[in-house]
């Protein structure tokens, strides 16, 4: 895109700056729209599984429900509790929202169509996703209220636990693809097993994908691991004291994070922007359509789980993370690297 702006007669610095800003807008604006629509989709799927109708009043089929909700919270008064730590109380939702958007910089939407094509893309995603916990923890502490504080403590322990196993799962992917760059990881998945694109067809990596999907739910605090906002125990968890736009920022950030997890599932294990099969006619459909379809598929799985699986107890969550996922993912790091060494993958 820099070339396009340089073609308009701008110097390299200006062209680079403008193309970066344009890239950010090209990702962030459709993402915001997508988040609004995905909240609607989530409610519809959830309702359908409970034999309800879901939102169906605002706009055709209720399609404008999210925008009506957005307008509603926008017009509400922002209430800040007197005992709250004001600065941090207002910064916390901004952190959550910003971090949810930042990680999208390294997601490849098509071959080479990525905002920041960095060597350490996967590490960047890990780094950014580990920042997500601060929005929750700071909100919990600065609210100066019991339930948000409990929620903050739960969140910090939960996210650290599942990051460990996610790290090991990602190491398996990196070993096989030989790169931390997400674009290269997608390319390494082309006709990985016979003509199937994607690491998921590999018997050694399929269990890793299942674990990544579950860890992703825990990392984004989605049901069945939504202990940070368990309404039966903690009112609304860290969001209890929030109202108006601050509350909306949490909602948007949460769903942007869920979409990011779906995109990571697609990019790391399901071939990202590649079609499912390495068959020429399928390449006629542009790559970002495939990626979008995969993201929507994974979001359906997330919604499905949310609608059907009861919430975990906290000790069960910790047991799953530390006693099952951590040893199994470690075992698979050994298995995968051993297999790759034995077959001369690194030679």
């Amino acid at each position: 895109m820099t070339d396009f702006f340089m073609g308009l007669g701008l110097s390299y610095d200006w062209a680079w700056g403008l193309s970066t800003i344009a890239g950010i807008l090209l990702i962030a604006l459709p993402l915001m729209l997508g988040v609004a629509m995905i909240i609607y989709a989530d409610r519809k799927i959830w309702a359908a599984m409970a034999l309800r109708r879901g939102p169906n009043v605002v706009g055709p089929l209720g399609l404008l429900q999210s925008f009506a909700d957005g307008l509603k919270v926008f017009l509400q008064e922002t209430i800040i509790p007197t005992a709250a730590n004001k600065g941090l109380f207002l910064i916390a939702p901004i952190i959550t929202f910003t971090v949810a958007l930042m990680a999208w910089a390294v997601i490849p939407f098509n071959s080479g169509a990525v905002l920041a094509d960095v060597n350490v893309g996967l590490l960047y995603v890990l780094a950014i996703s580990s920042l997500g916990v601060y929005g929750v923890v700071i909100a919990g502490w600065s609210s100066n209220s019991k339930y948000p504080f409990f929620s903050a403590m739960r969140a910090s322990a939960q996210m650290i636990s599942y990051e460990v196993s996610i790290g090991f799962i990602l190491i398996c992917v990196v070993l096989w693809s030989g790169s931390f760059n997400l674009n290269d990881i997608v390319k390494a998945q082309q006709s990985h097993v016979w003509i199937i694109n994607g690491f998921v067809a590999n018997p050694l990596l399929f269990p890793m994908w299942v674990m990544f999907l579950i860890s992703g739910m825990a990392e984004t605090a989605r049901a069945p691991f939504d202990l940070t906002e368990a309404e039966s125990e903690l009112v609304a968890g860290y969001q209890t004291e929030y109202s108006s736009m601050a509350f909306a920022l949490y909602w948007l950030g949460e769903y942007a994070n869920v979409l990011l997890m779906c995109a990571l599932n697609a990019v790391l294990f399901w071939g990202g922007y590649l079609p499912p099969l390495d068959w020429a006619p399928l390449y006629l459909i542009p790559g970002f359509v495939w990626l979008l379809l995969k993201i929507l598929f994974f979001f359906f799985i997330f919604s499905w789980v949310k609608a059907t699986v009861p919430r975990y107890r906290y000790d069960q969550l910790m047991r799953l993370g530390w006693k099952i996922f951590l040893p199994v993912s470690l075992l698979f790091v050994v298995l995968v690297s051993g297999y790759l060494m034995a077959t001369g993958h690194f030679a």
Partner: protein, 205 residues
Amino acid sequence: MIQVFAFYLFATLCILSGAVTILARNPVHSVLWLILAFFNAAGLMVLVGAEFIAMLLVIVYVGAVAVLFLFVVMMLDIDFAELRAGFVKNFPLGIALAVVLFVELFVGLVVHGAGGIALGTPDGSAAPLANVSNIEAIGALLYSRYLFLFEAAGIVLLVAMIGAIVLTHRQRGGTRGQNVSKQNARRPQDATINMQPESGKGVVL
């Protein structure tokens, strides 16, 4: 141009947030400023082309260590009067430490100005790795030249981890933990009996 601007931005913010870390009254604010300092240090490392170290700094320090700091500090019951009393008591010690640190920094700068120590190796060159990414270069060095030091660092961390677990682990009597495999192996007939006693007879348990 943009690099120079970014350098001064990161450097200034790093020093400022480091200073505020010490000056902030509230320990939670201190930790948050410390996180900002880490972040700016990571930015500086990206600027010098060490993007791998920068990402590790964010993942390890910001993502894990600082979260645990915050976790502990959040639960502190802060008493400012007590803090100030401690300040007066520990003031001489603090000054002594500050002087030592300053002298070390000064000596380091002087040595650097005099040319520094040549990082030569007994067997010759440090094997420069051209045309490989940072990650590959670090990996190649860590797992060949510095293998034993690397393993030793791993053992030190393992010992520290086991030590921490041994020190904090307590066996408490009287608690009943959940045995998942035992629970799953349990069947309805193990726990319930269906009886149809005649009227006036009752059941012997």
